[in-house]
């Protein structure tokens, strides 16, 4: 129907009790019909807390080697030690922090650059749009590993290059999403109204268009973060990402697999589980956000 439904309908059930507290409202509003989303959010919150405050509880130096190699989990070493005698628990906490930072930096960089590119391409169009979009096509047509290897060769291995790789491979997604949003939103009447109000092109672009194109980014961002954490781990596992001795979940899993046959299961299983939990929780939260921020549902 193109007719507009006038105001809201009267409700039969009493309005939620104000005294119940904001958290209850927030809970009902966000997770009321989505227990999985709540589960994901709680798990993610725990993991982030662990990454932020973890280093304060780290019991051992994550990098210094000791002679007590391949010890079983005990009260001294909660998750045992690895082949260099380093405490697995301490290394895991530190890697979590590094992985979050790398993935977070990479994804935010991609969001920043990608959105800006998409916004300008969608708004300006013409040769600039063609040029940027072909460039984006080129990035997307190369396999992730190839891009990563070329960059690592060019920049040298390390945290910086893995952040740059993450930024680069994620730019296309955001550029495309925001470009599409801009193309559809720039035709809407409120943009014309802003133009009639004497708004400058910059104001139309950044004040009127941009805030209205960003909502899909939140969903994409959280799902993308999950993929980025995974990618960092994969690249590190393959030896072209974060390099030992800097701890990383991917590196730890990679090293641990070599000792699985010797029965040192704790070396790879625990970091692997944390990695899986991180990706899983980010995906759950992303799905939950997707349901919540769906434009059709957020209208009211």
């Amino acid at each position: 129907m193109n007719m507009h439904v006038e105001t809201s309908l009267p409700s039969l059930t009493p309005a939620p009790d104000r005294k119940a507290g904001w958290w209850r409202t927030a809970y009902a509003g966000w997770f009321g019909s989505d227990p999985l989303g709540l589960f994901g959010a709680v798990m993610l919150a725990l993991l982030i807390l662990m990454a932020v405050f973890g280093p304060a509880f780290v019991t051992h130096d994550p990098i210094r080697t000791t002679p007590q190699t391949l010890l079983l989990p005990s009260s001294e070493h909660w998750l045992g030690t690895d082949h260099f005698g380093r405490d697995v628990f301490s290394r895991m906490i530190t890697s979590l922090r590094i992985d979050f930072i790398v993935a977070g930096l990479g994804v935010s960089g991609a969001i920043l650059i990608g959105s800006l590119l998409g916004l300008v391409c969608g708004y300006v169009g013409g040769w600039f749009d063609d040029l940027v979009m072909r460039f984006v096509d080129i990035i997307q047509s190369f396999p992730l590993l190839l891009v990563a290897m070329v960059l690592v060769l060019a920049l040298g291995p390390g945290v910086t290059s893995i952040v740059i790789v993450t930024v680069l491979i994620n730019i296309p997604t955001y550029a495309r999403v925001i470009r599409g949003q801009t193309l559809s939103k720039k035709r809407l009447e409120y943009i014309d109204a802003a133009r009639c109000s004497g708004a400058s092109e910059a104001s139309i672009l950044f004040r009127h268009l941009m805030p209205n194109t960003l909502s899909p980014i939140i969903v994409h961002g959280s799902l993308n973060l999950a993929a980025a954490v995974g990618n960092v781990a994969v690249l590190s596992f393959l030896g072209i990402g974060i390099r030992p001795p800097v701890p990383d979940l991917g590196v730890m899993v990679a090293e641990g697999t070599n000792y699985l046959v010797q029965g040192a299961w704790w070396m790879s299983i625990c970091p692997g589980l944390v990695l899986a939990a991180t990706i899983f929780s980010l995906n759950l939260v992303g799905d939950c956000l997707e349901g919540r921020l769906d434009p059709h549902r957020s209208e009211r």
């Binding site: 507009h4 006038e6 109204a193 802003a194 109000s197 004497g198 708004a199 209208e299 009211r300």
Partner: protein, 333 residues
């Protein structure tokens, strides 16, 4: 009569269908019109007749292919850059869709204040606030709505905000593009009443675009009837709707839904507007016109029926020659 607020001269803006290059391009072909100070002029026609395109060209939201738009004798259609941006103040638009005419991320106050600020209408925030409250009461919007977001407002309230934004610019002319056609009848009546009252209070000229004969008749003093990009009939509302000369106007009037239906339709068009059937050099209504005859293969000129009532139909030729009275002859010479 003093200089018109708006003068459109021979404006053309056509859109070719990329999928069907052989089909006739739609839009506006060679339309001229004038709107005097404080006048409410109606523009009526069915979808695809070019009325919205014309409105957007007048507001410089589209650049015409040819022809010019003069606002108070300033060639608005030729302005560029900064002077264009500043001149936009004089011509404002109210759009059709209440869902998309307001920025969903801005409160009403912020959205309207932009116009006040950009055109330097107010000096500071306190003054802006005062003006916003005045404007809100002018368009019948409750003051609390100023701090609300569009999704918290009803369709009628949103259209009021759109009108308020246009008024805030203190324009010479407001183009109202079907401002009430998405609203319910009871809300439509509220908004139309507000618009009519406003017009008498503020005295701004309106170009009122609509497909609804009854709404145009209620709002306007003069009306232009468009079909397929050309004006087929124009004149005072009483004359055009009371004594319609063009078969298309008569069919439009006959088809308008009524509370008290008429017993017989005087005239009805055949079929629907199909672009493929129409040739450029003939009368655009010919293929659907029940009164079409041999002469209609040639596009008719506009015949003057007196009092500014003009009709582009060969059938009006005889009436026109009869209506040219001695006084009119004297005035012409």
């Amino acid at each position: 009569m003093n200089a018109p607020v708006l003068a459109v001269r021979n404006l053309t803006k056509l859109f070719a269908d990329a999928a069907r290059p052989d089909a006739m391009p739609v839009g506006v072909r060679g339309v001229s019109l004038e709107v005097a100070r404080g006048e409410v002029v109606g523009l009526i026609g069915e979808s695809g007749c070019g009325k919205t395109t014309l409105g957007r060209c007048i507001a410089r939201l589209l650049d015409p292919d040819s022809g010019e738009v003069l606002v108070r004798d300033v060639p608005f259609s030729a302005l560029k850059g900064h002077s264009l941006r500043n001149f936009r103040k004089n011509v404002q638009v109210v759009f059709q869709k209440p869902e998309t005419c307001l920025n969903p991320r801005m409160t009403v106050a912020v959205f309207v204040r932009e116009a006040l600020r950009n055109f330097g209408i107010v000096a500071n925030n306190a003054e802006a606030r005062k003006r916003l409250v005045e404007l809100a009461s002018l368009v019948g919007l409750r003051e609390a709505a100023l701090e609300q977001y569009p999704h918290q407002l009803s369709g009628g309230e949103r259209q009021r905000v759109a009108i308020m934004r246009a008024l805030a610019c203190e324009p010479e002319l407001i183009v109202l593009d079907e401002p009430t056609s998405a609203l319910d009848v009871s809300v439509q009546a509220q908004v139309l009443r507000t618009l009519k009252d406003l017009q008498t209070v503020v005295g701004t000229s309106f170009l009122f675009i609509s497909h609804d004969v009854a709404v145009i008749r209620y709002m306007c003093a003069r009306v232009l009837v468009m079909y397929l990009g050309v004006v087929v009939e124009e004149g005072p509302v009483e004359a055009v709707f009371g004594r319609p000369a063009h078969p298309y106007t008569r069919a439009l009037l006959a088809a308008a839904p009524r509370i008290k239906p008429r017993a017989v339709d005087p005239i009805a068009l055949r079929g629907e507007l199909m672009l493929g059937d129409v040739r450029l050099d003939e009368c655009p209504v010919r293929v659907r016109c029940p009164l079409a005859h041999a002469r209609c293969v040639e596009a008719p000129p506009e015949f003057d029926l007196g009092d500014g009532h003009r009709s582009a139909c060969w059938l009006s030729a005889d009436t026109a020659s009869r209506s040219v009275s001695p006084t009119a002859m004297k005035a012409a010479s």
